[in-house]
């Protein structure tokens, strides 16, 4: 499906480039060194960053696309992708919600998203966006008083080059893997966060407020650094499906936590999963997310709720380098229709008395295929390391699948590991029990599934948790019966 799709889509984009002659901020599809140079030049980047991109690019040319994941998709033609497009001008945006896909609006409605936010999410060119920008500015002022840097990646390169230079690639090196390397060569934009020593960030940082950096495209790059004793909670994504025209997404997220620092990174991902009947047109989400607990007693916690995309390939991981550092991974992944998800985590224990917790909940409905793939690695020096893993799968219907691949590699005899795994089928008798109390089947299913995911949802910030529950409900509609 994808070649044809990408082709069609690439042509369409290309066509746009010619029709709207004024839009000079888009380059033809294809990738070579000159494209990398062009991206860097457009962004007015310093020499060192261009060098870094070029190193990544030449490395990428020697790499092969990974085939080990338990997902199937047609080969991607990397020469048919457009690697640079400036954010759309108002002229290209829909003028009002009336011009937006009614299906998208129906979903917004169900999720109870206020009208102004709907306009923003759908990319409508109206004043609503300006309202949000002013809100964002107010917050930025507050954060700046505390010395917190929260801005787009491009701004950070301009205003805080020393920080970017120090930490970029320090967790996910440019040579890390096929998709991360591609991202390193052509990344468009993303977020940058720096929390100075001893500062507790007073609010949840969300890309939501980062309106000016919206439409960062398919190669997003995020870097979050929490200095000694700093604390931050970052929310990525949005429960509402975003208008998005890119099929391939290959983002990179790097987190660095120094001594006693703590980073909590929560994601709700609801990209277009493709046509429910045929699976056509969905987004490929090939993301590299990794955090490094550099300092002693540092903590990195990943929480993700993955309900969208046609193919998900994603393993938010923790490198537990500092002694007594803590890594956590809480995940809910729902696949329905023809969705495929191969997701999990990697916990690498390097320091002494490092602890990691993995809670993964996979839900499959329709023809969905859900794979948990996780690795716990205890290195030689990691005395007293502990890991607890729990991987639960739930099946709805009999055409879907759940798979679990836990890899455990222990090189220190004092390590303690626990692994629990269950697979359950949503029971007719559970549904009947709910029915007998007056609860309709659809409500029963979403109640049972939400109950199944509770341990993960309670890790999400309050508001996000409520939205995530609602999101599952909307996504499960029509899964049973």
């Amino acid at each position: 499906m994808s070649t044809a799709m990408l082709e069609e889509y690439a042509e369409r984009e290309y066509e746009f480039g010619f029709v709207t002659d004024i839009d000079q901020e888009m380059i033809p599809p294809g990738l070579d060194e000159s494209v990398v140079r062009l991206i860097s030049a457009k962004k007015e980047e310093p020499e060192w960053l261009l060098e870094w991109r070029l190193k990544a690019f030449s490395h990428w040319l020697k790499m092969e696309e990974p085939q080990w994941a338990n997902v199937k998709y047609d080969p991607i033609d990397y020469q048919k992708i457009i690697y640079y497009a400036a954010p759309k001008s108002d002229k290209d945006r829909p003028k009002s919600l009336e011009e937006v896909d009614p299906e998208l609006l129906r979903t917004y409605e169900k999720l109870g998203i206020p009208l102004k936010e709907q306009e923003m999410l759908a990319g409508v060119a109206v004043d609503a966006v300006f309202d949000s920008v002013s809100v964002a500015t107010t917050f930025k002022g507050k954060l700046a008083e505390l010395g917190i840097v929260f801005c787009s990646f491009s701004e950070a390169v301009k205003n805080h080059p020393e920080l970017v230079k120090k930490y970029l690639g320090s967790v996910v090196p440019y040579s890390d893997n096929f998709f991360a390397t591609l991202n390193s060569a052509v990344f468009s934009d993303g977020s940058f966060v720096y929390i100075p020593k001893g500062v507790r960030c007073p609010m949840e940082l969300s890309t939501y407020f980062r309106i000016n950096a919206m439409n960062t495209g398919q190669f997003e790059r995020t870097l979050i650094v929490a200095d000694e004793g700093a604390t931050v909670s970052y929310l990525e994504g949005c429960t509402a499906p975003m208008r998005d025209e890119n099929q391939l997404h290959a983002a990179v997220v790097e987190l660095v936590a120094m001594d006693d620092a703590s980073i909590k990174y929560s994601t709700v991902q609801n990209w277009y999963p493709g046509d429910l009947e045929t699976g056509k047109g969905g987004i490929f989400n090939f993301v590299t997310k990794r955090g490094k607990c550099e300092g002693k007693r540092s903590k990195i916690s990943w929480t993700q709720v993955e309900t969208g995309s046609a193919v998900t390939w994603k393993y938010p991981s923790c490198i537990l380098k500092g002694d007594d550092s803590v890594g956590e991974f809480y995940s809910v992944a729902l696949t329905k229709g023809w969705q495929q998800a191969d997701t999990g985590t990697k916990m690498v224990h390097i320091g002494k008395n490092t602890t990691s917790t993995i809670i993964s909940k996979g839900i499959s409905a329709g023809q969905g295929q859900n794979t948990y793939r996780g690795q716990v690695k205890i290195l030689k020096g990691a005395h007293g390391a502990r890991n607890f893993s729990q991987c639960d799968s739930m099946l709805i219907g009999d055409r879907c699948g759940a798979h679990t691949f836990p890899y455990i590699d222990v090189n220190n005899p004092s390590a303690r590991m626990e692994h629990e795994a269950t697979t359950s089928k949503i029971g007719e008798d559970q549904i009947f029990y709910c029915n007998q109390r007056g609860i309709a089947t659809e409500d029963a299913v979403s109640m049972i599934v939400n109950g199944f995911c509770r341990e993960v949802f309670r890790e999400l910030p309050m508001e996000f948790a409520v939205e995530a529950q609602k999101l599952l409900e909307v996504n499960l509609e029509g899964s049973v019966g």
Binding site: D429, N435, Q436, R437, A440, T441, D443
Partner: protein, 256 residues
């Protein structure tokens, strides 16, 4: 008015006929006990009334307050006031008992055109009803039936019934697996709900429960048929003589 009128009801599970023509009329304010040996079709009757899909009705009629009950889905029956206390209550991990019950109550209220209850009203109601079955408050916060003992599960069923206030309560072997103290508590809960507008069908294997829930009528089910009906003294007779004499009668009837 009759709450329940069962006319010549036949039902089968996986092609096997279990109920072979049952007729029974239950009026408001009455308690009917259905007794019988294992495999006689007692639980099948309960499941058919509650609307379980695997149980196929192959003949006869069931009228509930004058309306065709069999036309309604299980959740519609529940909202119309039919409650079944399960013999084996199901566990729903991660869903708190309170949350579940509030969803159930509001679904029923919505159906009746009543306002949904808010959290404060609901908690007040729940606290009051809990006393009826002497339930520990921690069971409210715990996931539905998960990790409950056998007795706690049965008490929880009666507690649900007390909150949802059905018109027809069907108790499917609620006494099985209960010790005498728990049995008394369950019976007290049921008795407190007895009134002129409500009716109960109490399914049990043993007479014991009927010492505490005194029935107006007792029916004996053998091989899918009601072979004898009488007052509460029939239960005592069964206690004394067992089921075998009725089973012999039934097989004689079947071959005749």
């Amino acid at each position: 008015m009759s709450i329940l009128e069962i006319k010549n009801l036949r039902a089968s599970v996986e092609e096997k006929e279990i109920l072979k023509g049952i007729s029974l009329t239950v009026k408001a304010g009455e308690v009917h006990a259905i007794m019988g040996p294992n495999g006689s079709g007692k639980s099948t009757l309960a499941q058919v009334l509650a609307g379980r899909e695997e149980y196929k009705v192959t003949g006869g009629k069931v009228l509930y307050r004058g309306k065709d009950l069999l036309e309604l889905g299980p959740e519609e029956r529940a909202r119309e006031g039919v409650f079944m206390a399960f013999q084996y209550p199901v566990e729903i991990p991660g869903v708190s008992n309170t949350y579940f019950l509030k969803a159930a109550l509001n679904a029923i209220r919505k159906h009746r055109g009543e306002k949904e209850v808010d959290a404060v009203e609901f908690l007040k109601l729940v606290r009051e009803k809990m006393k009826l079955v002497k339930m520990d408050e921690t069971l409210l916060r715990r996931p539905v039936n998960e990790g409950f003992s056998g007795g706690e599960k049965k008490r929880n069923e009666i507690f649900h019934m007390a909150v949802l206030e059905p018109i027809l309560g069907v108790l499917d072997e609620t006494d099985s697996g209960l010790d005498i103290d728990a049995l008394k508590i369950v019976a007290e809960g049921v008795n407190s709900l007895r009134d002129q507008n409500r009716a109960f069908v109490v399914i049990t294997h043993y007479q014991r429960l009927l010492d505490y829930i005194i029935p107006d009528f007792v029916h004996v089910l053998v091989e899918g048929r009601i072979v004898r009906s009488g007052g509460k003294e029939l239960a005592l007779e069964l206690e004394e003589k067992g089921y075998s004499w009725l089973e012999e009668e039934a097989s004689a009837l079947a071959t005749a």
